[in-house]
């Protein structure tokens, strides 16, 4: 070999090194999956269950003989519900473990922080975050969202306001993509229906008190306050509101109005608060299957953790897409199959094994998830239904289920 061809070869080798890992990945005999759930931090009520559901689904897929002839190999890290910690963990999963899909990011801030990394590596990202920005920043169509966007949450809030006959809503938003997404989605939907929002504040995180913000809202004499908030700030706001003694109703996302809120404030303060969260696809066979597995694995009913059903579906969809793409497919080819196995147009299936059997007969399938029907839109977003819960004596009582038609 002369010097020139050596140079060519070595530069070609160097160039190959620079390419994302997926080129070689299938050669290892496994499909590498990273899980990045919020085991600690603000997402800790859900993270451990989410991680368990991923494990559970991976075991199920492997027990059914794997997908496209390979087993799934799982690597788990904790996002700590913090963007900085999540970025470090994602780097480790991508660079050291060479994962081809990153599953289970929960907070919008975390998903937005790891998206540039997964995009650069050309791997699949699946999350349960709400920020509308995730849809538009996903330029390579590698990001799949199993939770309703904050925009849709806002539309559900507007629907609930209408059903309850509220006339003078005001909004309070935590100053980030998720908080503002909720209230802006609400305002858009409410004003489109001819309503008027009487007051709005955007407040800063980490303040010892929100009295002045609250006062500004209450001065407008609203009959209901719609929030895009989190647990700590909601705790402070509600405590100050209750002490101020002004009667008003509240509509909040489920991650703020959670059992922890009742624990912090007691039954009297939280009485009558309307808590809205997406609900699982509870009447489906896939949910019954998931519920049984989840109860066996954790001792708790599947309905206690709506996000765990989403992460379970992530693995099933991913495995079906791998199966559909066939042996030796690249991550890109697998990604391209996700809509095909999850959207209408094929025979409905409710478990991985069912789907695999039909795919082997070269039939088209439509996996109906445990968390929702899935049916990804052009942004890779799903449209789950919303459960409307009212807190009564510290208990969350479901009053209604609201469906929002798929977005444009």
């Amino acid at each position: 070999m002369d010097r020139r061809s050596l140079l060519k070869l070595s530069s070609a080798a160097a160039a190959l090194q620079m390419l994302p890992g997926f080129v070689f990945a299938q050669a290892t005999g496994s499909f590498r999956v990273g899980s990045l759930c919020p085991v600690t931090g603000a997402g800790s009520p859900y993270g451990p269950g989410m991680q368990q559901a991923i494990r559970m689904a991976v075991d199920e897929v492997n027990a059914a003989g794997g997908a496209a002839g390979v087993k799934l190999e799982l690597f788990s890290e904790d996002s700590q519900t913090k963007p900085d910690a999540a970025v470090l963990a994602a780097k480790k999963l991508i660079e050291v473990n060479k994962v081809q899909a990153l599953l289970g990011t929960w907070a919008s801030g975390v998903t937005l922080a790891v998206m540039p990394l997964t995009d650069a590596a050309g791997i699949i990202e699946m999350n349960t975050s709400g920020a509308p920005a995730i849809s538009t920043l996903d330029t390579k169509d590698l990001v799949w969202r199993y939770q309703a966007t904050n925009d849709r949450f806002g539309q559900a809030f507007a629907e609930i306001c209408k059903k309850n006959g509220y006339k003078r809503p005001a909004t309070m938003a935590f100053n980030n993509a998720s908080g503002l997404g909720n209230t802006q989605g609400f305002t858009k939907a409410w004003e489109a229906a001819g309503g008027k929002v009487v007051a709005h504040v955007t407040y800063e995180p980490n303040r010892p008190s929100y009295r002045s913000e609250l006062q500004k809202i209450l001065d407008a004499k609203p009959d209901v306050i719609v929030t895009g908030s989190y647990l700590p700030d909601t705790t402070i706001i509600l405590r100050e509101w209750f002490q101020s003694g002004t009667p008003v109703k509240w509509i909040m996302p489920g991650w703020a109005a959670s059992p922890d809120l009742v624990k912090a404030l007691g039954n009297e303060v939280t009485e009558g608060i309307i808590s809205v969260d997406s609900v699982s696809n509870e009447k489906s066979k896939s949910y019954a299957h998931y519920d049984e597995l989840y109860t066996k694995a954790t001792g708790k009913s599947g309905s206690t953790n709506v996000y765990a059903a989403m992460t379970y579906d992530m693995v099933v969809v991913l495995a079906l897409a791998i199966e559909a793409a066939g042996p030796g497919a690249t991550t890109e080819q697998v990604n391209a199959k996700i809509r095909e196995v999850g959207n209408p147009g094929g025979t409905p299936v409710f478990t991985f094994a069912e789907g695999k059997a039909l795919l082997a007969k070269k039939e088209k399938i439509n996996y109906e998830g445990a968390s929702s029907k899935l049916d990804f839109d052009k942004y890779g977003d799903v449209t789950p239904d919303f459960g409307v819960y009212v807190i009564e004596k510290g208990e969350f009582v479901r009053k209604d289920v609201v469906s929002i038609p798929p977005g444009v």
Binding site: V201, T202, Y203, I236, G245, D260
Partner: protein, 289 residues
């Protein structure tokens, strides 16, 4: 007018809570000549100790706070003996970095044992007293009262006792103080015990208004620091006035600027004062160097 008064009340309550850590920082700055960045985490420690005491069955928050203050004071004095005393002859940056490190350590130890979940004190919620629209929360009144009481005790200590006189002497001129036979060691232990008590009580009061989380104190360090600078570094009275001024300005700006920009305004006030009086409201130029 009613709105203005309500905002003023909010501002004063917040200001009094911020005044405690600001005072603790300014005391260390005046005597040991470095910004104690661990003050915030002393606050967090105090708040968690009080939560812990309540969980262990100490029902009265006053008693729980007393225990928390005791433990935090010992921690604070130990940190001086073991860390800051050894760095006293090094440049200021060494002590500052050590304080930041100590803060990290405390925060991590707390979140290791207590986790990241939010906690609250076991205090009954009481409806506000409503005087024709002017709302006063009894809890806020208790918080403001406790902070004021604390400040009064510190000022009596500083200006009416031999301990305070010696402390002020060391702060003014350490060499002259030593020459006059003031024993630094006991004095320093006393000062750091006081810093611990102030921080712990500040932490509990802040936790009563907000929620207790491992980042509680760290997140509120900057306002305390700004209040100290505004009041004049090393001036106890200045720290309290600075804290009140910044908090009141912040709250009063809400109807004008909206809550998103109230922090900007408070730092605008800080910049303005420093332009007119570079040493701060009550500061002396020699301490700035």
């Amino acid at each position: 007018m009613i709105q203005f008064l309500n905002l003023l009340i909010n501002g004063i309550t917040e200001g009094l809570v911020v005044a405690l850590p600001a005072l603790a920082m300014t005391l260390v700055m005046g005597v040991n000549r470095f910004p104690n960045a661990a003050t915030g985490d002393f606050m967090t420690t105090g708040a968690f100790m009080a939560v812990g005491a309540q969980l262990l069955g100490v029902q009265s928050l006053v008693l729980a706070t007393f225990l928390a203050a005791l433990i935090t004071a010992m921690l604070s004095a130990a940190s001086y003996e073991l860390i800051f005393k050894k760095l006293a002859r090094q440049p200021m940056i060494a002590s500052l970095l050590a304080a930041i490190g100590l803060g990290f350590l405390l925060r991590s130890v707390i979140s290791f044992f207590a986790g990241h979940d939010q906690r609250t004190f076991n205090v009954p919620l009481v409806r506000a007293w409503n005087f024709d629209g002017i709302r006063i929360l009894p809890t806020d009144l208790a918080i403001a009262g406790a902070a004021l009481g604390c400040l009064a005790v510190v000022f009596i200590l500083l200006y009416r006792t031999s301990f305070g006189r010696q402390l002020r002497a060391v702060s003014d001129n350490p060499d002259l103080a030593r020459a006059s036979g003031i024993r630094a060691r006991k004095l320093m232990i006393g000062l750091w015990l006081l810093v611990g008590v102030l921080s712990a009580i500040g932490g509990v009061l802040l936790g009563m208004k907000a929620v207790v989380m491992p980042e509680l104190g760290w997140d509120h360090l900057i306002p305390a620091f700004a209040a100290m600078v505004l009041g004049g570094i090393g001036s106890p009275v200045g720290a309290v006035i600075g804290a009140l001024l910044m908090s009141v300005a912040q709250e009063l700006s809400v109807p004008l600027l909206g809550p998103s920009y109230k922090l900007v305004l408070s730092f605008g006030v800080l910049a303005l004062v420093l332009m007119v009086r570079p040493a701060g409201l009550m500061g002396r130029v020699d301490l700035i160097r």
